[in-house]
């Protein structure tokens, strides 16, 4: 549990004082929410955060919205003013259930202590089942102080909440038939694969029908990038070959993905030749953005297993795979391999040094997109990054939460010099709790992604994007972490090695090429095959 104390949660903190529950004090409530999120992503368990009322609760809001957009199981407990004061503009009062209504899967205001045990049980159940998401429990201080007999509800029964997990057999049969007859199939997967632990089924299916696999941002780690069938990520900063494959495909099997606008580009030009099978546990995701030929509501793992059982013969995709191989040769991911210290190189070196086994958190922006492209993701629950909401300042506190959830793992936060400063105060949390996260700042002196858009679409008018930064090495040292500055390409590998060998928190300040861009890039609202740059 991550959190921050305050006036109306004093009774809870008093109990935590000698409780066995592991509580980690962050330096900002936003950090607590992101840490709970990171913990949940790496473990698959529900992450918990706790704050006081008013500003404590509103500081959690960004973290809750972030978890909501990425379907992360989380329970956020907020203190509330005394029941009889609610609505009276009391000190540190805010309408938390009102504020969080549209960014939670569900929320509760508990007005009676006899309801508390059931509410907590339900909150964890709702957060972790179906399409996961955050649940807020708003808890007035007088309810915290009230006494009742503790009865733990063994079973949760909510008549209005029964997620569909088994896919409709008839629909799965239809999908199987389409796959058997397809000659240019693409499997397009998202975070649903990670959530339902369906990577093994995905792997078996891809091999069985010899279909290439492309992943959304949220799906990274679900299928190894080192596999010949892997197309990497698709969409705005996806690989050229993944986007070409979508545009030429005759059948797209979408599993646990939601056809986000960053994935589809111009919607009416998306996959013009393909029939689309869409598997998702959330019926509202289906046919939301894109017309779907075979909708299947269900759990990814269950549906994929059933699909595997029903596919009798594998299609002949050899010609298709050959075409894709050619695209891979002609349009690989590319950056200039010269003597300059380029950010992509740093990420490649992190991959090399950790053999791809590290947990990789990122901030948001160019650092994040390079981390998608240049780290060969291959293990589920090792990719911790803010997808839907795109929250700067997420990576570092999330890495702290991930380190709590995976104590034996090397955890990196790949950061930009802009976003790291949004929650840099959590250095105190990491150092004090001996959570040896390695922060790799790709320091280009700009808010890089915004600068890139200004370069490409606003005539290089760099409005409010150049940054005058603090000395990150000194800053790290002030917090009791290790600070390193790397300015030369030849020093990168050794520095990363040293950081990994250091048992403390390490801040690596990589002073990289200032105006490097993320390519390829599909400009917003363009068709997927209208890519800019990045060609060898």
């Amino acid at each position: 549990m991550f959190g921050y104390p305050g006036g109306v949660v004093l009774p809870i903190f008093d109990v935590l004082y000698d409780s066995k529950l592991k509580f980690i004090l962050t330096r900002h409530e936003q950090g607590a929410a992101h840490a709970a999120d990171g913990y949940a992503r790496v473990t698959g368990k529900v992450g918990v955060c706790l704050s006081t009322s008013g500003p404590g609760a509103t500081n959690l809001v960004t973290g809750i919205a972030n978890a909501y957009m990425d379907s992360i199981p989380m329970v956020a407990i907020t203190g509330q003013v005394k029941t009889f004061l609610i609505g009276n503009d009391a000190f540190q009062e805010s309408d938390v259930t009102g504020i969080t209504r549209s960014i939670t899967k569900h929320n509760y205001l508990v007005k009676d202590v006899t309801e508390l045990a059931r509410t907590i049980r339900e909150a964890f159940y709702i957060a972790s089942t179906g399409r996961p998401g955050p649940v807020v429990i708003d808890l007035p201080v007088d309810v915290q102080q009230a006494k009742t007999e503790f009865i733990w509800p063994e079973k949760v029964e909510i008549r209005s909440y029964q997620p569909t997990v088994e896919g409709h057999t008839g629909q799965i049969k239809k999908a199987a038939k389409l796959l058997e007859r397809s000659s240019r199939p693409v499997i397009y997967v998202g975070g649903g694969i990670i959530t339902s632990d369906a990577s093994p089924e995905l792997m078996t299916l891809a091999k069985k029908i010899q279909a290439p696999v492309t992943m959304t941002f949220m799906g990274l780690g679900s299928f190894p990038m080192t596999d010949p069938l892997c197309l990497g990520m698709l969409g705005m900063h996806g690989t050229a070959y993944a986007n070409h494959a979508i545009m030429e495909s005759d059948l797209i099997l979408a599993v646990g993905a939601r056809f986000d606008d960053r994935v589809t580009g111009r919607i009416d030009a998306f996959a013009p030749h393909a029939k689309i099978v869409h598997v998702d546990i959330d019926p509202t995701s289906i046919s939301k953005n894109i017309r779907v030929d075979v909708p299947i509501v269900g759990d990814a793992k269950k549906v994929l297993s059933e699909l595997l059982r029903l596919i009798k013969k594998s299609p002949d995709t050899s010609k298709w795979l050959h075409t894709i191989e050619k695209w891979k040769e002609d349009h690989p991911l590319f950056y200039k391999k010269d003597d300059l210290l380029r950010p992509q190189y740093v990420i490649e070196q992190i991959y090399e040094a950790t053999k791809g086994e590290a947990v990789i958190a990122t901030e948001v922006g160019q650092n994040q997109m390079w981390a998608c492209q240049w780290y060969k993701h291959g293990i589920p629950r090792h990719w911790i990054s803010s997808g839907g909401l795109g929250t700067m300042g997420f990576g570092f506190p999330a890495a702290i939460g991930a380190q709590v959830g995976a104590p034996g793992k090397i955890v990196f936060d790949i950061a930009g010099d802009g976003s790291i400063q949004m929650n840099i105060q959590e250095l105190a949390t990491a150092v004090n709790n001996k959570l040896p996260v390695k922060i790799a700042i790709l320091n280009n002196g700009y808010l890089g992604m915004v600068r890139q858009w200004q370069e490409l679409f606003y005539k290089k008018r760099y409005s409010s994007t150049p940054l005058k930064n603090p000395d990150f090495v000194k800053l790290a040292e002030a917090y009791g972490a290790k600070g390193m500055r790397i300015t030369k390409k030849e020093d990168v590998a050794a520095a990363i090695k040293e950081a990994i060998a250091t048992p403390n928190v390490v801040v690596m300040d990589f002073v990289v090429e200032p105006e490097e861009n993320v390519y390829p890039m599909v400009p917003a609202g363009e068709a997927l095959n209208r890519m800019l740059g990045g060609m060898a």
């Binding site: 209504r101 549209s102 569900h106 209005s160 509202t284």
Partner: protein, 167 residues
Amino acid sequence: MKHTISILVENRFGVLARVAGLFSARGYNIDSLTVSETQDKTISRMTVVVNAEDEKILEQIKKQLNKLIDIITVVDYTKKEYIERELVFIKIAVDKKSLPVIKKMVDKAGKIGSASGLAVARILDKKNDSIIVELVDDQERIKNFLAGLKDFKVVEVVRSGRIAIAK
């Protein structure tokens, strides 16, 4: 196109705000909304009438309504066999000349049954200078009745919003 959507919900605080939020977040105006307990005290029924500017968006709203934890079922009556009624109170300023004319209109409206049954139309309250008319009817006939009053001085119209039941 107008849709009449019937929603069974848990009878708890906050549910109305959740339902209304899905419409308001998209800038959708709700034409009418009624909420009350059903035969089961733990369940309430909401009847929402909304004008769908885009059928695809309404479809999405209905799915998202279904997804809300406190919502038990969502039924769109629009393409189903159903009966709907609305209760209307109309306060009309009257004088000696207009009163008999309005009385006649009310009597007539009460006598002619609507397509699915007998409508209610009666004078509930009478003062020297005003009367209150009660009307229980379907949308078309309420509209016609109100249109028939255009030459009189209508002081206030209070409508309950539609309720509907499937046949």
